[in-house]
Amino acid sequence: MNNILKLGALAAASTLVLAGCAANEAAVEETTSATTDTTETVVELTGTLNGSGASSMAAGQEAWIAAFQTANPGVTVNYDPTGSGTGRKQFMEGATSFTGSDSYWKEEELGGEFPSCAAGTLPWEFPIWISPIAVIFNLDGVSSLNMDGATVAGIFAGEITKWNDAAIAAANPGVSLPDLTITAVHRSDESGTSKNFTDYLGAVAPDVWTVGAIEAWPAEYGGEGAQGTSGVVSAVSGGNGTIGYADASRAGDLGTVAVKVGSDYVAYSAEAAAAVVDASPLVEGRESYDLATKIDRNTTASGAYPIVLVSYLMGCNDYADDAQAELVRAWASFLVSEEGQQAAAASAGNAPISAGLRAKAQAIIDAIK
């Protein structure tokens, strides 16, 4: 115990000394050296960084924290996957320095106070986590099917009930479809996956899927409920003639649906998921450091896969505590970096953000004070 304390004090003291020198004399030099040799020798950051929010990116955060703390042994990063709403609330209470959230800041939230940030300044946000949602099914002898949005919506709304329905058959010439009842599996717990999936259904087929983006499944649409991503995947694999939606990294051996985008059918892939984010417009009326994106589910951009879940990273433009600013800058830079995105993708199977988005995000990060 004593040894640890001593070590910690030593580390803190040496950083103070070094930081003191650097701040006065060679600030410019330091930043240039930091960007050129990106490995271990950079700077000895110390401190604790607390964040909370979306559970969707919890697996990614674990990978990021492990990699970041290995590179910066003096830093402790905590991420508590409390859920997006709670995460944003905790940030607005000043309890955390950064937040992960499945939805961007609401207008009314931006009108509130942000105690972690310098008085009067607003937080930034940009997409950090793009996760394609696959439409998975279990049908003997069929590994891939084409469907347009209205068909997917019809299946999940309980209007299309047989696998050999004309709407499915028309899009899949040459595939022999059985006269089998479709069991559509949805999430029985509230989830961001359901919300993004139903947002897609409501956008592409508003007259079939009339309830819009929802987290709790409406009883009148029927279907089968299952708990969590694993529950949906096991229900789909366990039955015959089942279809469901789940995080694409968990699709496994199940058949997947290629959805109609423009005139093509696009299967999910990391690139296709990142492409739809690039092809979508930013929310209007936001500041330049606010990359809130309205995902264009009706996109016709070629090779874009519109059923994605996008989570944001949020932090202050100007931290009340300068030490936190430095930590967040390093942390956020690592998250958007190619290395960081690949680290998360390797362990959680999400889609890395595109180079264009990375450049925009890095510009925001560099401006953190």
């Binding site: 559970s55 009842t181 069991t183 599996v185 029985s188 987290e215 009883a219 029927g222 366990g238």
Partner: protein, 308 residues
Amino acid sequence: MTDVKPKAVRRLGDIVFANLTFLAGISILLTLATVAAFLFAQSVPAFTGEPIEAAENGFWAYVFPFIFGTVYASVIALAIATPLAIGIALYISHFANRRFSQILGYAVDLLAAIPSVVYGLWGILVLAPFLTPSYRWLNENLGWVPVFGGQVSATGRTMLTVGIVLAIMVLPIMAALIREVFLQTPRLHEEAALALGATRWEMIKMAVLPFGRPGIISAAMLGLGRALGETMAVAMVLSPAAVISFDMLTSTNSNTIAANIALQFPEAGGNYTNLLIATGLVLFGITMVVNMIARWVISRRAEFSGAN
């Protein structure tokens, strides 16, 4: 009135020990009161705060399907578990040879040690797929019986599967309790019945079962209490919807209160949390009523109890 009763000598150790047991006893009441107070206090904002999207038709419209589901699943579980538990208990207490009955007794107790999440996994991965063909058969051949009608589930994650899983979960405690009661049947009653020429089955019918009836009832109530509150296994196995449905073989089943809380709580915010806690209070009430009925049933039949 001159002779005074000698006063009992009170030693320090006696006083300390008496007070310690008093504290232990009162801690039960305190815990219960704290939980009840927490449920009450946390439920209030669900009714006073801004309207909640999930319960737009009012609290009772929201909670009623869950009350129904809770009771329905538990009743199915009991209907399956009670005869089975009586059978197990009779076999262990009156039929099996000593060695085997001991082994069987241990095995039943072991069932009780399996955590509910394991039962849930087993329910999804083994039991549900295994039962699906039987469900299809039931639906095709006995579909005219209301509970077997409807669109049969393709995955087997139905009310009946939940009932079976719950039945297996409550079986150990019921079988153990009933076995103990059966073992206490007065030897003389049994021997008298046999001496009068009764067969073994007639002896059981005349001596063991009437003697054990209050024990069977209290075991059933104990099992019911456990089934009502079971959360994890139901949340994992059942395919829920916010409906009231008697169909046992479809994908559209009434969820239970406990499972609904477990499913919705992680992402709930604001006074939706309070709404869920209020449903918890309703479950608390149901369990209390069940326990009170059980007490009443047992006390009404006190003349049968092991005391005489």
